[in-house]
């Protein structure tokens, strides 16, 4: 929104300058100023993001095994790494698995996050405080520590989940392995991911909910709208930009899920549990095929771009819409 307003002002000033016939130098200086201002940020991004990404792309075009690593000299193979990935049925399964797992996690995160945010809006302030404190605690727990605790809880031998389920009379869960069946295993890992992702989503949505104008809600209620209709026709449209941002960020985060899979499976995930982030890491750093690992990472970026294209389009539409509206 901010960006839209700024561009807007620029657009309006532009013709006036021309009419006034200001000298070219001053115009140039004026035009250059924003670039000077943005230069440090661009330089920082180039150094910490663009340069490594560029190296990654170059690496993905080389055969870079351990011998090449020690010699600091890769062997140029063009797009061979990509060709072999495309022809690899196991890799295609990894991509598909990652997409499905990401979609399920994002959906669960957004639905649960929204429900908790709505709940927080409605409960007594003291309860809201309790919920908020709980969320912040989850948020504040370092990922590795949190996942380690989840791993203990789902432990086959000593885990409290098996113990509690059995003693609650829900069946015999003594020596139940949660990871024998990959669907069940991914459900458990998904719970861990969603658990960690909910606080940010909930807190953001709750902040958004407080911005929903009271009078519009009341007007809708006067017009006879029930709670669901208020949510559907008032709350959701107001929160739409927030939903788009949260969905984008969640997709990006869940798509590259690594810690949760890696730690829950004792750093030895079997082939059934390979998601793209883990697969790339294993190929590069465990099997020492750095070129292939880089190619997987590049494919990951591309798939992620495609997967978030929908949201990006939404952004662009909003931005353009803002311009047109002005």
């Amino acid at each position: 929104m901010c960006a839209a307003t700024n561009t807007d002002t620029l657009l309006r000033e532009e013709p006036r300058h021309r009419v006034l016939g200001l000298i070219a130098g001053r115009r140039l200086r004026k035009r250059a100023a924003p670039y000077f201002l943005v230069a440090p940020a661009v330089a920082a991004i180039a150094a910490i993001l663009a340069y490594p990404l560029c190296l990654l792309a170059v690496l993905s075009l080389q055969h870079y095994g351990i011998r090449q690593l020690f010699a600091h000299q890769g062997v140029w193979v063009g797009i061979d790494n990509y060709w072999s990935l495309l022809g690899d049925a196991a890799f295609r399964a990894v991509v598909l698995r990652t997409l499905i797992f990401t979609f399920a996690n994002v959906a669960a995160t957004l639905v649960l996050g929204t429900l908790i945010a709505l709940l927080m809006e409605r409960v007594l302030p003291v309860l809201r405080l309790v919920v908020m404190a709980g969320l912040v605690l989850v948020w504040a727990t370092p990922v590795v520590v949190a996942v380690d605790m989840w791993q203990w809880m789902f432990d086959y031998e000593f885990g409290i989940v098996n113990y509690a389920l059995t003693h609650a009379g829900l069946g015999n869960f003594i020596h139940h392995s949660w990871f024998d069946n990959p669907i069940q295993g991914f459900t458990v890992i998904g719970i861990v991911i969603v658990w960690g992702a909910i606080p940010f989503v909930t807190v953001t949505l709750y902040a958004g909910l407080t911005q929903v104008p009271r009078e519009i809600v009341e007007a809708a209620e006067v017009d006879g709208a029930g709670p669901l209709q208020v949510f559907r026709y008032v709350t959701v449209p107001v929160l739409r930009p927030i939903f788009v941002i949260l969905a984008t960020l969640s997709t990006i985060w869940d798509f590259q899920a690594f810690n949760q899979v890696w730690i829950m499976l004792n750093a030895r995930p079997s082939a059934d549990y390979m998601v793209m982030g883990v697969y790339s890491f294993v190929q590069a750093f465990k099997v020492s095929q750095y070129g292939e690992g880089a190619a997987i990472a590049v494919v990951m970026v591309v798939v992620l771009l495609l997967a978030t294209a929908f949201y990006i389009r939404s952004y662009l539409r909003q931005a353009v819409g803002g311009l047109e509206g002005a």
Partner: protein, 428 residues
């Protein structure tokens, strides 16, 4: 491979070094600098490392030795990074299955011409020497070995009226069934506890029936996990696991000693040093089990014989890029020499690097069995690519698939066999 409570903090090593420097009367060498040594967590007892450093500093009072302990879990990544840099550690302990990878890539110094300068080099354990040998050249010095046998609970055996230790696979199964029957009221009891990914312990069964991981002919590797011998071994093992084990079929052996100490397990396949873990309260063990433990070799399907075991262990390599080759040689000479190998066996309870010291623990009813098991031992395919087979979890995945039955037996072994061949035959 070996996971034990952490041992020497670097400070201790430094202290030993200072003490050593002060007490050495005669200065024999003026060299100075720092010698960096990477040892694996739990490989050498504190006293051995301190002793080696003390002796080393008696000769080189001005050299600082930095012993840094590494974890098995992330060692591959750390080694890749270290060797790629310009100042890798001077001396590194390498798991014997990892040596070929680093030697073939040029990371390790060629020690062939210095071999005879190492004590006992003519009587080194053949299997360890083989693991150091790539293309006919020696790239590391054998450090110590470990072999597996079955640790069992004498009292649980006695309570189930088992008087005769199994001396065949069938015997193991029938003893196990007797134990399961005697403990049928305990739904968590395992007569023979076998976590699904414990592939080191699965190899003896495969080898015992004439199977193998892969064989090489004419420079090409051929996967053998689907050979008839391997199939027979895996089916026999699957029979034991399905009838006698309630271990996690998706889990690994990392916590098996703690589980064993809980008292609801009669037998585990384990390394000799794991006895120490089982009895150590600090690492989750139970000291009161001291007189209740016994050991017998993994039985063969041929009655009266024992199955060949996997000879694990470590070697000491010297980085090709090390600027302290001479110092590194001398430090390794101490740790791999008779004096400290003796202590590795008697204090560390591992199998020393030379056949001349193999008898040290013979009279020990527990450790002696492990040392004897090492005499009938085998090794994994000695290829620079072997480490990648391990890193890809090919064999653990296959075992999980066989034990859980979520993939058909034939598919599981064929996939694994093909994958092994594919990785071993890949250009590195």
């Amino acid at each position: 491979m070996r996971v034990r409570s952490s041992l020497v903090p670097a400070a201790l090593a430094l202290m030993a070094l200072v003490v050593g420097a002060c007490s050495s009367g005669s200065t024999t060498n003026n060299e100075s600098g720092t010698l960096t040594v990477w040892l694996m967590d739990g490989s050498a007892p504190d006293s051995v490392v301190q002793g080696v450093n003390k002796d080393f500093n008696a000769k080189y009072p001005n050299v600082t030795v930095k012993v840094e302990l590494q974890k098995w879990g992330e060692i591959g990544t750390k080694l890749d990074t270290a060797f790629a840099g310009s100042t890798p550690p001077d001396v590194v302990e390498l798991g014997n299955t990892l040596v070929a990878k680093y030697a073939a890539a040029g990371a390790l110094a060629d020690e062939t011409s210095k071999k005879s300068s190492y004590e006992n080099s003519s009587s080194w354990l053949q299997s360890l020497t083989d693991s150091c040998t790539v293309g006919g050249k020696l790239y590391c010095i054998p450090y110590y070995a470990g072999s597996r046998a079955i640790i069992y609970r004498k009292d649980i055996f006695a309570k189930a009226s088992v008087t005769q230790l199994p001396d065949s696979l069938d015997g193991l199964l029938s003893v196990g069934q007797k134990l399961m029957e005697a403990n049928r009221l305990d739904s968590g009891f395992s007569a023979f506890y076998f976590p699904g990914k414990y592939w080191y312990a699965a190899l003896p069964f495969i080898w015992d029936f004439g199977g193998d991981i892969a064989t090489q002919s004419g420079g090409q590797w051929k996967g053998q996990l689907d050979s008839s011998g391997s199939q027979a071994g895996l089916l026999a093992l699957n029979g034991l696991v399905s009838k006698l084990s309630r271990a996690d079929r998706q889990g690994d052996e990392a916590k098996q000693d703690q589980a064993f100490a809980q008292g609801r397990i009669a037998m585990i396949v384990a390394n000799g040093w794991e006895i120490g873990v089982i009895l150590d309260a600090k690492s989750g063990g139970d000291p009161s089990l001291k007189d209740k433990l016994g050991v017998f070799p993994i039985p063969s399907h041929n009655p009266g014989q024992s199955a060949p075991v996997f000879l694990g262990g470590s070697d000491l390599g010297i980085a090709a890029k090390s600027k302290n080759q001479g110092l590194a040689n001398d430090w390794v000479r101490l740790l791999a020499g008779a004096k400290y190998q003796n202590q590795m066996a008697t204090v560390g309870k591992v199998i020393p690097n030379t056949t001349t010291l193999l008898g040290l623990n013979d009279s020990d009813p527990l450790i002696g069995t492990f040392a004897r098991a090492a005499k009938n031992s085998r090794f994994v395919p000695n290829s620079p690519n072997w480490a990648n087979v391990e890193a890809s979890n090919v064999i653990p995945d296959m075992l999980v698939n066989v034990f859980t039955g979520r993939v058909s037996f034939n598919d599981a072994i064929r996939t694994a066999s093909d994958k092994v061949a594919q990785i071993l035959n890949a250009k590195s």
